[in-house]
Assembly symmetry: C2
Homo-oligomer: 369 residues x 2
């Protein structure tokens, strides 16, 4: 294998694929990046941790076809520190000789034959999604993804395509986040669970201008973002029937400024998090007299009394929430005002943007004495 | 104590002084910020860890004079999260009531009588230094300050004023950094050791446009930066006679592009840091045939051969350095080219900017087999 390329192209390619490099030490070759020549003056870089793989092609002058796997730890660092000179890359058995100016580095690598093959998708369903829409949707549902690996379904994001409608849903069983987007051209019907980590990486790779192609086969999903492909396994299992969980009615509807609500909860959480005070993160909120009222008392730290305007329809109510779950949604809801719909002290609350009908966040209250 | 002020002023003041709040838990009151009214519509905020103290005055409408100490941990966070409303601040014994809109927070504090008094300077020598010059000088000498608290003198920066000349010198015994600046109006003669940590904080507080006043008394130094005062103890002890250490002559003088030299050393250090390879961080450099040449061999990682142009006067030479010490100086030397002056394999090397005569970095070579 022998090729020439620019430093900047190589740096870009390495930075993109190294997100998929395995951080576990169980199989050393998975800590590597595969480089492979193609027939059309491109090098393909690949990395995978067996759950997710990223592939990226960069322009290069191919002199001799071939492939090699180099340890990401050294190769990524080295490439970033190369001078801005044309680079010649040549393999000799399982080592790569990288030549620039009068200097050269030899990096010991692995046999490319032993690198896992990134599967290709067969029999696929595909849709196109505008990059900014997908990035935004992922941001809004990522907040409710569970980190608990013992229940894999909740570490994923339900991805539902129904004609021209794309819907992402996540839940960690304490709250649920649901975002709907409209596609120009959809699919008849598809329901899959994509790992939350995969969608976070997809979101990182997206720049606003791009249109993303999402393809599914039986066990996998593929995202195409310009010259980048990200492939990931799907999560097997049954996602809870989220529609059934979402209350259809409410007895109290509150309208609040998002920023004001966020700041009030953040201030209250300063006292809620204190060991000497309440149970961690619990804040009790009253809605009455067209106000949101919070009273907190931490013997060690101090006291807080918050009262801000809120438009209240229906019954006045007291309810307790985990402040972290409120802060999470109020940071991503992306509207100047929110509705909070409540149906009693022990029923789930719903938070929605006021001017849009595409997002919903359900939050379970906390039973307090 | 009672006053009114804007959120933004309070945030600014708290952010400045909290750098001096003690992070140790030995005396809880040192984790606090003192607030104190003045006679001229200002509040003074103070914090100290007994080594260094920062004082900052902010505009406020004083309604009733007084003072209080509030725990920085809660007060700083709270202040940042206040709404953009006028704030009324009122004390009741050792608690502060902070009122904004229809809301209020009470934070339990400490008796201000128990807060250590920030000493005032008597019998002082003072000089003015342009902010950008001082910031730049501190950056260039900070790299060689020792972190080893068992030898306090080396954790400080020698500060020498001699007529119109200000000189900062630091050494961790492996290298020495010396920067000279010219003052408009100097002092007859002053030689002090200022803690490196103090000068780092001073550098953080400086914005380019300011002129800084530095005052000394017997045991302390005071920096005035606009409405901010930073006071610090001086380090007692004998700083090594740095002039004696700096070689007057050399047998080899090399001229090199700074960026090229830096990148070469950074690439070589990738292999030098490897456990399977050389002793950590040691790189051997040859200067011959108007080139800098580095050869490294790490059985596990690979090999490196670097050759870049260098203008060499005098004897050709091989020498070994700690790559970290070279990287540190090449990042702050601030000139497109550097001179490296050498006097044999076992004698210290000197690095200097080519177009300026105000900076010098001495580095001890490593004896290799």
């Amino acid at each position: 294998m022998k090729f020439q390329c620019d430093k900047s192209n190589l740096v870009q390619g390495v930075q993109i694929v190294q997100r998929a490099v395995s951080t576990k030490n169980t199989m050393p070759i998975l800590g590597g990046i595969l480089l492979e020549t193609t027939d059309n003056d491109e090098i393909v870089l690949k990395a995978t941790d067996l759950e997710m793989g990223i592939k990226c092609s960069i322009k290069a002058d191919i002199i001799e076809p071939g492939s090699i796997v180099l340890p990401s730890k050294y190769f990524s660092e080295l490439v970033r520190k190369l001078p801005d000179l044309p680079i010649t890359f040549e393999t000799n058995q399982n080592a790569a000789n990288i030549i620039y100016g009068d200097s050269q580095v030899v990096i010991n690598g692995f046999d490319p034959e032993e690198f896992p093959i990134l599967p290709s998708l067969s029999d696929t369903d595909a849709v196109n999604v505008p990059g900014d829409l997908l990035k935004h949707m992922i941001r809004q549902v990522s907040v409710a993804v569970s980190k608990d690996e013992s229940r894999p379904v909740f570490t994923g994001i339900l991805t539902e395509i129904n004609e021209n409608q794309l819907r992402l849903v996540s839940t960690d069983t304490h709250r649920l986040s649901c975002r709907t987007g409209v596609l120009e051209k959809g699919l008849s019907s598809r329901l899959e669970i994509i790992p939350g980590k995969t969608l976070t990486e997809v979101s990182r790779l997206i720049n606003d201008e791009e249109s993303i192609t999402i393809s599914f086969d039986k066990n996998q999903v593929l995202f195409k973002i310009d010259n980048i492909s990200l492939i990931s396994r799907l999560i097997e299992g049954q996602f809870p029937d989220y529609k059934q969980v979402i209350p259809k009615e409410y007895s109290t509807k509150v309208r609040l400024e998002t920023k004001t609500f966020l700041q009030v909860v953040e201030r209250a959480s300063l006292l809620a998090g204190d060991e000497g005070g309440n149970k961690a993160n619990v804040i009790k909120i009253s809605f009455s007299e067209n106000s949101l009222i919070i009273n907190m008392n931490s013997p060690d730290v101090g006291k807080l009394h918050e009262k801000v305007p809120a438009y209240i329809e229906g019954e006045e109510i007291k309810i307790a929430f985990n402040s972290k779950y409120l802060i999470d949604v109020l940071k991503v809801v992306d509207d100047e005002e929110v509705y909070l719909e409540l149906s009693g002290t022990l029923s789930p609350g719903i938070i929605k943007p006021v001017t849009k009908d595409n997002y919903l966040y359900l939050i379970l209250p906390i039973r307090t004495v």
